[in-house]
Symmetry: C2
Subunit: 343 residues, 2 copies
Amino acid sequence: MNLREFSEKLGLSQTTVSRALNGYPEVSEATRKRVQDAAIAHGYHPNQRAKSLATGRSMQIGHVIPVSIQHEMMNVVFADFIAGAGEVYGRNGYDMLMSVVSDDDEVKAYEELARKGSVDGFIVHGPTDDDPRIALLQKLGIPFFVHGRSTDVRVPYNHLDVNNKRAFVRATDFLLDLGHTRIGLINGLERMDFAQRRRHGYVSALRARGIEPDQSLMCSDEMTEPYGYKAAHDMLRKTRPPTAFVASSIVPALGIRRAIEDSGLKLGKDVSVICFDDAISYLPNGSGEPIFTATRSSVRDAGKRCAELLIDIIKEPPATPIAELWEAELVVGNSTGPAPAKD
Amino acid sequence: MNLREFSEKLGLSQTTVSRALNGYPEVSEATRKRVQDAAIAHGYHPNQRAKSLATGRSMQIGHVIPVSIQHEMMNVVFADFIAGAGEVYGRNGYDMLMSVVSDDDEVKAYEELARKGSVDGFIVHGPTDDDPRIALLQKLGIPFFVHGRSTDVRVPYNHLDVNNKRAFVRATDFLLDLGHTRIGLINGLERMDFAQRRRHGYVSALRARGIEPDQSLMCSDEMTEPYGYKAAHDMLRKTRPPTAFVASSIVPALGIRRAIEDSGLKLGKDVSVICFDDAISYLPNGSGEPIFTATRSSVRDAGKRCAELLIDIIKEPPATPIAELWEAELVVGNSTGPAPAKD
DNA sequence: CCGATTATTCAAAGCGCTTTGGAAATGATT
DNA sequence: AATCATTTCCAAAGCGCTTTGAATAATCGG
């Protein structure tokens, strides 16, 4: 059923029905009620395609996912981010358009989606240190919101980030306070902006205590479980093994724990582990007391907030770009303890 | 730039330009080339909203995600499924529309998306044993494809499923062959169709060897890591603890491993674990040799296949519904070994 | 060189909605 | 009762594309 048929059935003009349904004031409440009730009774829903052509808005937000980056960003964190953002979209009448593309086609995908008018705005995921997408989207003149930051992009842009550096300073300080001096860093891929900031936090915390970071105790890769295992396993076999690890996510931390136990050592006693915890819903950091001591920030809440802000921006572009920086909280679990006495 | 402006710039009619761009034969190759080159040069992309209104197709596939089911289905498996499906969509000119809704609104969401004409078809995720969505979508007359099965729905519908029962028969048989007789089942939520089939597989394998399943060794819940930990932890403290576990996913299996090690036992020696492995990209079951012995089937490949089949169905509805059943493969890792000798 | 084909191109009519500019009906004010 | 302001409703013009039906240009056999 379309608007013409529906309004004929009601004996009203298409204009009146449209206005009644869209909450315009030029229609009496009695008429509005009659129209709304009839719409429900007949299951009438305005055709979205026609509606968006007429209004010029698609009511869709674009998320472009480069297929190979999935390890680093998409999978672990992504599902929770999406859940948060999607909730907000739903409440505001928006839908989420997701486009999975090969890495080479990423920039093209943003451009096409924007030019085709398929979306009213974008969420930009997983920015690198010098992300070309920001300049592109600014050139295209379409609203967008970055989850994270891109250090080398000097023009302002809307974004929300966790204070990754501070979080890693705190995590490293926590271990230093416990007397650890050989601390391994199991980081994410260095091309990701967040990974660089985390490393800076780790390095500057060490230097603040007069400890020169040891390159052989720092590594970076896709944040999988086996990566955490292998990196920790190798480091633990060094002549001067670390007594503690800082990990970029709970996923490699699980691998680190496995490596520790495989080596016959005890987590939180012989070797301490602290990680960044995105509060992933299906990998909760314990129920009740945390498994890992961690610096935590909910990626799902970040998804919600990014969505809210992007929708605001679409409705009314802000005079100056929005920038939010969230502090991670420190939660203490059983994976950390005093550095073992030197023999 | 719109079609009118673009075609004026070329000195051609809108018809000719449209046909040139859409590959219709009524236009000379010379003209087509000229139009295509100009489109690239000027960055012209036909407005998708207008296009879909004119053609009556949205070129979007809907995925409805009930927000609270995320633990069970969305998170772990979902990201990989989406990556597979999204790849296929991209290749075929489709986009993915994702709608995150509260559980109560799930059915309504399908109906609205269909009635509004926002999507040309749906992928149905995580069917329960008697899933109402199948009847609804059939009533709405919109193409859809189910990932999984719904046992109690007797009418045929398009679907692809893993042979969950067989996979769990094989997993349980594998443990029985190793001499285990007390085997715990750490299953997913029972309302999910796959969880029931898996339990049936487990139970029938035991009965085939004359072992009556012990209710106290069977549990079902959302498949998180802490759930696996708690369930295994509790079972291991029984007077007659299990010597092996069958787990529904690698995520609770990680928790089971933690519980085993916490109890001072050795995985693959004192206690064996076998799990179902969806081949999740960021939780790979080891690199090289598998961490867990498992029955494996790639959920990403399933996503690809479901997308391909749905697109075929949209293009041309099949005379009889499509049904594919995939067998999981058994991969042997280090998490299983002979049952310890009784004392 | 002409009428019949065939290859190109075009004008105009939708697709189903929103929204502008008015008209009709109602109520308030003199 | 006449005037004016409000309220309520409507006809018609887009939104930017595809596609039908028709016109024109090019090609060909005789």
